[in-house]
């Protein structure tokens, strides 16, 4: 009896059924895609925030006051690859080594000391156990560098800061003399900061020029971090063992810095605080905003679905009257309506989930250029919620319907 009645319901009232399924589907789609956006946005924005630059600076540990000025000690270039072996290695999105030195530049008749910096511009590292190469260098820590011309990829080329170039009347393609060796200016660099007054080249080139094989002055690291909270600001030296482990295993900028310090011999690593703190502030605000927005929109879609369901089912009050007149008992009516609601919930929920997959994918691609991951937990959760809403939406009309006198209903007056 039930299957036949159900079939009759659906076939006779196609439009009504479609409306209800659409309502549940739309509500599910909105809820599921919003939840996905809300949970994914933090990690996507965290990656975007790395465009602000390196958030960890590694320098040689100072030993004694004399080391404060000039460069008394260096870090080892050979330690660099160990950076991608630390506990939080997957959060390390980039790093770049730098060697600083003063060189004598001869350009025409001008002779002057200039600040020279040797670094990696774009260095692909093959890490053990990883399929694709890890890209290190300037491109991974300072994406805002604007070079007119090209980077100094040849061993005899240099990039000159634009302010310095203007002062010395240098252009791309010109020749300069550094420490007696001839170099060609392959590009001019503009950042707005002190780089505009320096001369850049490949790390190996400057090492050769200064006679310092395998030496680096400092390293900049770009890492995805968990925003700092009160616990994270505690001095690690004063933490208990459990606290220390918790701190170490959470990706705070301070704990990641400590891990990098451990693998770079003789180093001291500390957060670049203005970058780290800005990130933390932006992520916190964004997370809260999206969370609250999601709650708002979820309530809205639940009510939206609810109103449609209630309205759709209210009109079927007559049908209930008819059923009662034909001898159906209350249990039978309740079963019928509930079964309908379950079918609508399942069907609408499935359509809604598929729709939400498409929505999240589009939003992710449009805004961040990558897809958002829809968490597996979402599927049973959304389905469950759609079912609950469908059933709840059926309760009111059912409750109303059961109190109706068939004759009254059949006469067309409520």
């Amino acid at each position: 009896m039930l299957p036949r009645l159900l079939k009759r319901s659906f076939l006779n009232q196609k439009k009504a059924m479609i409306i209800m399924v659409v309502a549940v589907a739309v509500g599910t789609a909105v809820a599921a895609s919003l939840l996905t956006v809300a949970t994914e946005i933090s990690s996507k924005v965290a990656v975007e925030l790395r465009a602000f630059g390196a958030n960890i600076l590694v320098e040689p540990r100072l030993e004694g006051l004399a080391g404060v000025s000039g460069q008394a000690r260096y870090l080892e270039e050979s330690d660099l690859k160990k950076i991608k072996t630390v506990f939080w290695r997957h959060n390390i999105l980039g790093f770049a080594p730098f060697l600083d030195g003063l060189v004598e530049m001869r350009s025409g008749e001008n002779v002057r000391p200039v600040q020279a910096v040797g670094t990696w511009f774009e260095q692909k590292l093959q890490l053990p156990g990883e399929e694709s190469a890890f890209v290190a260098g300037i491109v991974s820590v300072a994406p805002w560098w604007s070079i007119e011309g090209a980077w100094a990829s040849h061993a005899d080329s240099v990039v000159v800061g634009s302010a310095l170039a203007t002062e010395l009347n240098l252009h791309v393609g010109d020749s300069v003399n550094l420490e007696g060796r001839a170099f060609q200016v392959s590009g001019l660099l503009t950042t707005g900061d002190r780089e505009d007054e320096q001369v850049f080249m490949e790390l190996a080139t400057l090492q050769g020029l200064l006679g310092g094989e395998g030496r680096i002055s400092r390293v900049q690291v770009s890492a995805l971090t968990t925003p700092m909270d009160d616990f994270a600001y505690k001095n690690p030296k004063t933490m208990t063992r459990t606290e220390y482990e918790k701190w170490y295993c959470t990706g705070y900028v301070t704990s990641i810095a400590k891990q990098v310090e451990e693998v770079m011999t003789g180093s001291r690593a500390r957060p670049v605080w203005n970058v780290a703190e800005t990130e933390g502030k932006v992520l916190e605000k964004l997370r809260l905003a999206i969370y609250l927005l999601s709650v708002m929109a979820l309530i809205a879609s639940a009510i939206g679905v609810g109103t449609t369901m209630v309205t759709s089912l209210l009109r079927r009050v007559e049908e209930v009257g008819l059923m009662k007149a034909l001898g159906a008992d209350s249990m039978g009516i309740i079963t019928l309506f509930l079964s309908e609601a379950v079918l609508i919930g399942v069907f609408g929920g499935t359509v809604g989930l598929l729709l939400s997959l498409w929505i999240s994918k589009q939003v992710g691609l449009l805004v961040f250029g990558t897809e958002l991951n829809q968490k597996a937990l979402l599927f049973p959760l959304s389905m469950g919620v759609s079912l609950i809403i469908a059933i709840l939406g059926a309760l009111l009309p059912i409750a109303r319907a059961l109190h109706i006198k068939p004759a009254v209903v059949l006469k067309g007056v409520e």
């Binding site: 789609a29 006051l65 805002w144 707005g192 502030k281 605000k285 708002m296």
Partner: protein
């Protein structure tokens, strides 16, 4: 029955017989409008709020002297009063000696520094003769807060008191910071500044020309590092908000549509009745449209303050302050409610009006 009486009769019938359904329909419109108003308001406000959070980065413009030497201190007062400037940090750079070792010294305005919220263990200097030590330098000096520190400048050896240790995560950590007057004296550069670190109030592109015009002989450069990252991030967040709004608005419109559609489906008999007792096709559609319109207006009326309140609630919760929602949004909300309801209501009406009166009355 014709005209106005006909109209009133059916309106009364609607209200008395299906007030619950009308309330629900109005509710769905309220919801749609409040979501639209709320999210539109938030989208406008989020740019401003995130912009505030991004200020924690610090300066995004560097002002220095064109010839590479120092500037007169009055450049600071010229720049700080400009409307496009949010904050200015004056800097005087030089070297002094500690135990005959050259150490970098930065002279700055301690009141401005204190408001920046930089990491500091201890206190920033608040009177002359006090010095803040960078964390790297502090590790090798072996002094604590309150201890004396001898600085050798152009005037000979002066004893300063250490007030605290700062950490920037830059090479400033190997140096010291003192007040501008002390620095001017120690470095024999009285009333001079090496640079002004400026944070713009709005876009860098607007601030740079204004700053350049405010004083002669200065070079004003925007920091590419921040400019690009900020613009890109804010643009992405706004796009995200817009897309989310579109999705939710679309869902709301569909939900209103299906609510109205469900309402009208059942009224085929009523339509038949209307036509039978004197309604023309025109008056029937007019009736339903005005019913939908009333629902829309009422729903919109309620939806606008609801949307406003929820937008403010989100803003307060997330950003700790309120956003300024333009009042045009309220009018737009009302109009929107009207449009949505009429639009959503007119399709099912058109569809339901197709069959003939007699057929409906017979119940087929």
């Amino acid at each position: 029955m014709k005209g106005f009486r006909w109209f009133v009769f059916f309106l009364g019938r609607s209200v008395s017989q299906r007030w619950m359904r009308m309330v629900i329909a109005a509710l769905s419109v309220t919801l749609a409008v409040s979501v639209i108003v709320g999210m539109a308001g938030l989208s406008l406000g989020i740019r401003e709020k995130l912009g505030d959070a991004l200020k924690a980065y610090g300066a995004n413009i560097i002002v220095s002297s064109v010839d590479g030497r120092n500037m007169p201190a009055e450049a600071w007062s010229a720049v700080r009063s400009l409307p496009s400037v949010a904050s200015v940090l004056p800097q005087l750079y030089g070297q002094i000696r500690i135990q005959d070792v050259p150490v970098e010294l930065i002279g700055t305005d301690m009141d401005t520094v204190r408001s920046q919220g930089w990491r500091m263990k201890g206190e920033w200097p608040s009177s002359p003769g006090q010095v803040a030590v960078g964390s790297s330098l502090g590790e090798v000096l072996g002094v604590g807060a309150g201890d004396p520190l001898e600085l050798m400048g152009s005037t000979g050896v002066e004893t300063f008191t250490v007030t605290g240790f700062f950490e920037r995560g830059s090479d400033a950590d190997r140096g010291l910071m003192v007040g501008l007057k002390d620095a001017g004296r120690l470095l024999a550069m009285p009333d001079q500044l090496s640079a002004l670190l400026v944070r713009s109030r709005g876009e860098i592109a607007e601030a740079v020309p204004e700053i350049s015009r405010s004083y002669a002989g200065i070079s004003v450069k925007g920091l590419r590092q921040i400019a690009q990252a900020e613009t890109s991030l804010l643009a992405k967040i706004q796009l995200l908000m817009a897309l989310v709004t579109v999705v939710v608005v679309g869902a709301c419109v569909i939900s209103v549509g299906s609510t109205m559609g469900a309402t009208v489906l059942e009224r085929r008999e009523e339509i038949g009745l209307m036509k039978a007792i004197g309604g023309t096709r025109r008056s029937v559609s007019l009736f339903y449209l005005s019913e939908a319109g009333t629902i829309g207006l009422l729903g919109g009326l309620l939806g606008w303050p609801l949307g406003f309140i929820s937008a403010q609630a989100v803003s307060r919760g997330a950003f700790g302050s309120y956003i300024s929602v333009p009042h045009i949004l309220g009018v737009a909300g009302l109009v929107l409610g009207l449009v949505i309801a009429v639009l959503a209501g007119h399709f099912p009406v058109r569809d339901a009006m197709k069959p003939r009166a007699a057929e409906i009355l017979r119940g087929e």
